[in-house]
């Protein structure tokens, strides 16, 4: 009696599996194109990042830190990057950053427009919200499987899985930001005969910008977290170092690459947060 009855058994997984296979069979061309596109973007981003002399990056981070926070932050950030370099992980760090950068850019390109549509249509918001909840609570490893099936091993499925995992915050916060624009302000814009596009670009988006930037910050941090996991399907970078260290029980290697990931995460977080902060209108 304590067992769940057999006749109620429903294997949803099979259908999901079939769906993914169906996608592969029927939309292979599309996914090939997507793969080529992402790969092209990724290669360029990585090429550029690897091409940058290390001291330029250090100086750039120093300047950014100084600009968005204060001079001491700039110095600390630059020193922290120097530590990563001294571990001999510079190149891997850039590989990781390339994946993060690509995923974040794709996330924003899709996430912000979708967030805007959510803000305009309550029905669409109602449909999207549970999906976003699902995307965020689903164990991130699960994305790896379909990503792997659709794009094979390598950095492209890593970008795909990372994007899915990282896109919800920017959608949510774009939606929230636009919905929270003062009603009177929007009415005022209407009363002067603004077109819908003018209202969006001249009033709503600028007003929502601080909130959207918070979303960008969160999306970036989630992308950073996911990139490490995505190393399991072949993304190059610091994540793979951690993975190798686990497999070999190599404490030294694990600690160094782990620390490097933490350092990058902190720097990215503080800088994007500082940028988000700078968009806030003083009350």
């Amino acid at each position: 009696m304590s067992q769940f009855p057999e006749f109620l058994k429903f294997e949803l997984g099979i259908y999901v599996d079939q769906f993914v296979k169906w996608l592969m069979n029927n939309f292979g061309g599309f996914f090939d194109f997507l793969q080529a596109f992402i790969l092209g973007f990724l290669m360029r981003a990585e090429g550029f990042l690897q091409w940058l002399p290390w001291w330029v990056v250090l100086f750039g981070v120093f300047l950014l830190g100084w600009k968005v926070k204060k001079i001491s932050s700039g110095i600390v950030f630059a020193l922290m990057l120097l530590v990563v370099g001294s571990f001999g992980l510079w190149e891997l760090m850039m590989a990781t950053l390339a994946v993060v950068l690509t995923s974040v850019i794709i996330s924003l390109l899709i996430g912000i427009p979708v967030g805007i549509i959510m803000a305009y249509s309550s029905t669409f918001e109602m449909i999207m919200k549970p999906m976003l909840d699902g995307m965020q609570t689903m164990p991130s490893f699960v994305y790896l499987i379909p990503a792997l099936m659709l794009f094979d091993l390598g950095s492209v499925p890593a970008v795909f899985a990372t994007t899915i995992y990282a896109i919800p915050p920017v959608m949510r916060l774009t939606n929230l930001g636009i919905r929270n624009v003062s009603k009177e302000m929007v009415e005022a814009a209407h009363s002067f005969g603004s077109s819908p596009w003018q209202i969006l670009f001249k009033v709503e988006l600028p007003q929502a910008l601080p909130t959207i930037m918070t979303g960008v910050n969160q999306t970036t941090m989630m992308a950073m977290a996911m990139v490490v996991i995505a190393s399991m399907i072949g993304a190059r970078g610091l994540g793979r170092e951690v993975l190798i260290a686990i497999n070999r029980i190599d404490i030294a290697r694990g600690f160094e690459s782990g620390l490097a990931i933490v350092i990058i995460a902190i720097i990215i977080d503080r800088i994007t947060q500082g940028i988000a902060e700078s968009f806030k209108v003083e009350e």
Binding site: E184, S191, F192, G193, L209, E282
Partner: protein, 390 residues
């Protein structure tokens, strides 16, 4: 005076299917019943009125009376469920999107209760907004914005952000932004309600100043009776989405249409315990009994008035003389005594203004304020009685 805006049988219902409720409303079902039965809110119920060109038309009502809904129907921020809104003879309810945008860009501008300023733009950019929307070149609109900012007394504040300004100044920006478009009609939705009383008074006077120069057609919403009577050329009182009375402030004060309006007016008088001595004017010029008609004539002429009070040497009030009588007296060699009239009203300095309204409306002379010794201490003209209400 030509009619600028003609509103006919305007009804606005909020809800899923507003048209379906119209019939019930026409059949006389009450607002509350409709809300309970269908979940629809009746904002404005079959309202008609005209607004003349160049006048300040005040719509007054308590919160929930539908006045804000009504004003938003005039520029279609709320689309009327039924009825016509004709501006310069054109029914704007029938406009398509493009026509409506052009109409809003050129003919009407709105000032909001909480200012509705764009907090991410500078004061100057806020003022320029309406022009920016019309794609006016930057140079041109900058010039206009500067001029308008000067008109509203904010010269040199253009570079500030709105929230660096005080409430009163922010509303000046709101007004400037609305005026920058040079609209024919200005809609003002409780523009001064969020300001403290002193600033509010100042802004009211300033609005009247600006209006005397620009001669816009202004529709002004307020819940404040005093404000309504102070600035309105005509006042409309709303209750439960309906117009209860429309008229000049005097008409409404002297001839309230029903108890609701009487309550309204009583309210102002109770709240403002203004006495005659607070608003009376200095009785000058003054003619003494010993003066002849010629002196009286001279006094009246030099002050440009048509009647004057006459007192004896103790300043005790004896009567009033008119300029017509005085001219006759001079021709017929009569004394002041012969032409003294006594058909004026007197008041005690301690009298409340509310008790003098009727007299002030009726009399053609000023009201004489006399103390217990029958000495003339001041006069009350109709304007000061009415403004005592404010």
């Amino acid at each position: 005076m030509s009619v600028k805006i003609k509103v006919e049988n305007l009804t606005k219902i909020f809800g899923r299917n507003p048209k379906s409720v119209l019939k019930k409303l026409e059949n006389g079902m009450t607002k509350d019943k409709i809300l309970a039965q269908t979940g629809h809110t009746v904002g404005v119920d079959n309202v008609s009125f005209d607004v003349n060109e160049g006048e300040i038309f005040v719509i007054m009502g308590l919160s929930g009376s539908g006045k804000s809904t009504l004003i938003r129907c005039l520029n279609l921020l709320n689309k009327p469920t039924e009825g016509k809104v004709c501006v310069d003879g054109e029914d704007i309810v029938q406009y398509n999107k493009k026509q409506l945008q052009t109409f809003r860009q050129n003919k009407m501008a709105m000032v909001f209760q909480h200012f509705g300023l764009f907090t991410h733009k500078t004061v100057a950019d806020n003022v320029e907004y309406g022009l920016e929307i019309k794609n006016m070149p930057k140079e041109e609109r900058k010039k206009i914005a500067e001029e308008i900012l000067e008109t509203v007394g904010l010269k040199g504040w253009g570079v500030k952000m709105p929230n660096q300004l005080s409430g009163g100044m922010q509303q000046r920006v709101g007004l400037a932004r609305a005026l920058a478009n040079d609209p024919d009609v200005l809609l003002m939705d409780e523009p001064f309600s969020a300001l403290d009383p002193l600033i509010r008074r100042e802004m009211q006077l300033e609005l009247l100043d600006i209006q005397s120069e620009l001669k816009k057609t202004i529709i002004f919403i307020t819940h404040d009776v005093n404000e309504a009577f102070r600035i309105g050329d005509r006042v409309a009182v709303m209750k439960n989405g309906k117009m209860v009375q429309i008229g000049t402030p005097e008409e409404i004060l002297t001839n309230p249409a029903n108890e609701y309006i009487e309550d309204f007016i009583k309210d102002i008088d109770k709240s403002k315990v203004v006495q005659a001595k607070n608003v009376m004017l200095n009785p000058s010029p003054l003619v003494f009994m010993k003066d002849g008609p010629k002196v009286a004539m001279k006094e009246m002429k030099s002050s440009g008035i048509s009647s004057v009070f006459v007192v004896d040497k103790d300043r005790k009030l004896r009567g009033i003389i008119t300029i017509d009588d005085t001219i006759k007296a001079i021709q017929e060699n009569k004394t002041l005594e012969d032409i003294l009239r006594t058909d004026y009203f007197t008041a005690d300095p301690e009298d409340y203004i509310q008790d003098l309204i009727a007299n002030a409306m009726e009399t053609k002379y000023p009201i004489a304020v006399v103390n217990d010794d029958k000495k003339l201490v001041g006069i009350l003209v109709r304007v000061s009685v009415l403004s005592g209400l404010v």
